[in-house]
Symmetry: C2
Subunit: 318 residues, 2 copies
């Protein structure tokens, strides 16, 4: 277990919501340019319509969201859920009790197609990260209940005179999620009891064969969050982002079967792949766009869509 | 005029909305820590309740927002505005005509307390940045109509073994906006016809006495956007962010009276000032927090509020 202490944010949680509006881009002719693909990557990642989801409150805490079409079924088959006013309620259990009930629910829900196949990986139900978990459950249940998920994404790169060369893996074709798609150098979800850096080290070893001395150069660079909807599933994810400068002679090598091969690509090639709609896993493109923006590889005066990208990626706080 | 071309974003504009919800931070004891101040800085900047504002559509384009309490008065005194269904409409003028009407409206609105005092600075009414302007108007009118504003914020720093030292100016006490408050090294709004980098160079000269050879080291790092409400005024701002590495022997020196003095502060001191509620201009704190996050000066495993900060600053795209 990590030694992290309780939560500190005492104000309201800042929950973002996309409101697609008629675009005020232009009053005249609209021009097509090759920047069109980048905003599309962002909106495809943050694609959830939260108005279609009913909040799930656990002992008064906003813990997740359930698609409104699923709520009646869940209320029927999960006796510990109650209907509130525009909200689902789960009161009266303690974290251990909730963990037990979720474990019992998983096979029932998976059988009914309301949960993905069990992964065997235990994740905390916690918001924000570092707080006291409300429960633990198989990772497969997070999108069923819209529980928050936390992950680590690392962009490994080799410094070069022409700008960074980036290590891009292709996911194996036998994966359940995003088979054959391009990914970030190292990426993985944070399992219960793991810290961010422990997860980074574990995934670096398993996914890219990179030992601690190499990985110790990783530098945190902030985070990104999105609500991604797949049918009636909701991924409410926060990614902790890292840059990993690597020596040219270090070559990542997958050990756990998740990755088919790694390519070292000049950043311009990565940008072109993104623009041209290459098949990156849905949450990898935004991380790479953020990397390119942070490293000064896009110019606000030359990339006409820059302000929109910056708003899409980081306009919120704010 | 800049040679920037038309807009490229053909998808829906991504309009963010804050939804303060009951915080799911904890099911147990809530702990106070010194991170509390940082989220508060972000929520004080992005404090607008957009439900209180009526969209203003110019020829079918979402151009701005007017506080619902002001809409009746504006409809009465500005004959070119019409009431639509939950929207204000302005149809039938071309950009030159709109520019003329806004110039005529300014003294009337200022007299009635519905616009700030004229600044003499002409700004484009345009969304997104780089598009074809719908009109031009005195900067004072942007918050009256909730028109988007664009600015540049530069964090100037000196690399040091213990991490960056940051140049922090204190604004002069005779300023109308944020007198005596702390600011970012260089900051300014982008006037009509100016590019981002032209604005950066102009402000660097005027505010900090930094000539082009020094400023050419500035590197774009992305952007931040927020909707900030002051009474019935709305600032819908997008900031283009830059890092400016500086030699230790270069000392900024204000030339236009906006700044009282500059201090070179270790990043830890800047962080402590932010945490302890020091008086930074409302939009400077988020820019500095973003700088500290991007430079790896906060650790996801040691700063319990990190995921919330990352979500607040960059959770959207996403």
């Amino acid at each position: 277990m990590s030694a992290r202490v309780g939560p500190t944010w005492r104000g309201p949680c800042l929950q973002l919501q996309w409101r697609p509006e008629r675009c005020g881009c232009s009053t005249g002719t609209r021009r097509e340019t090759d920047m069109r693909g980048l905003p599309a990557i962002i909106s495809a990642c943050a694609n959830a319509n939260l108005r279609d989801f009913v909040p799930l409150h656990i002992d008064g805490t906003m813990a997740g969201r359930v698609h409104h079409r699923r709520a009646p079924y869940l209320l029927k088959c999960l006796p510990w859920l109650q209907q509130g006013a525009d909200v689902l309620l789960w009161n009266g259990d303690d974290p251990a009790g909730r963990t037990r009930r979720l474990a019992e629910a998983l096979p029932v829900l998976a059988e009914a197609g309301l949960a993905r196949a069990p992964t065997g990986e235990l994740f905390d139900v916690v918001r924000p990260f570092g707080g006291i978990p409300l429960a633990r459950c198989d990772r497969a249940l997070l999108p069923t209940f819209g529980f928050p998920g936390y992950g680590v994404h690392v962009v490994g790169y080799v410094a070069d005179a022409g700008g960074p060369l980036i290590w891009i893996p292709r996911r194996s074709h036998d994966r359940e999620i995003a088979p054959g798609q391009l990914d970030n150098t190292i990426a993985g979800g944070i399992a219960s009891g793991m810290t961010v850096i422990e997860t980074l080290r574990k995934e670096a070893q398993e996914e890219a064969g990179l030992p601690p001395p190499v990985v110790d150069a990783a530098q945190p660079t902030g985070g990104l969050a999105y609500c991604h909807q797949e049918g009636e599933f909701l991924r409410d994810d926060t990614l902790f982002l890292y840059d990993l400068p690597m020596h040219r002679d270090v070559r990542p090598r997958n050990l756990d079967g998740e990755v088919e091969d790694f390519s070292l690509m000049p950043w311009r090639q990565v940008l072109e792949l993104l623009r041209n709609g290459a098949s990156f896993k849905f949450n990898c493109g935004p991380v790479l766009i953020d990397f390119l923006l942070r490293h000064g590889l896009m110019d606000p005066d030359r990339e006409p869509g820059y302000s929109g990208l910056a708003r899409g990626l980081r306009g919120s706080a704010l």
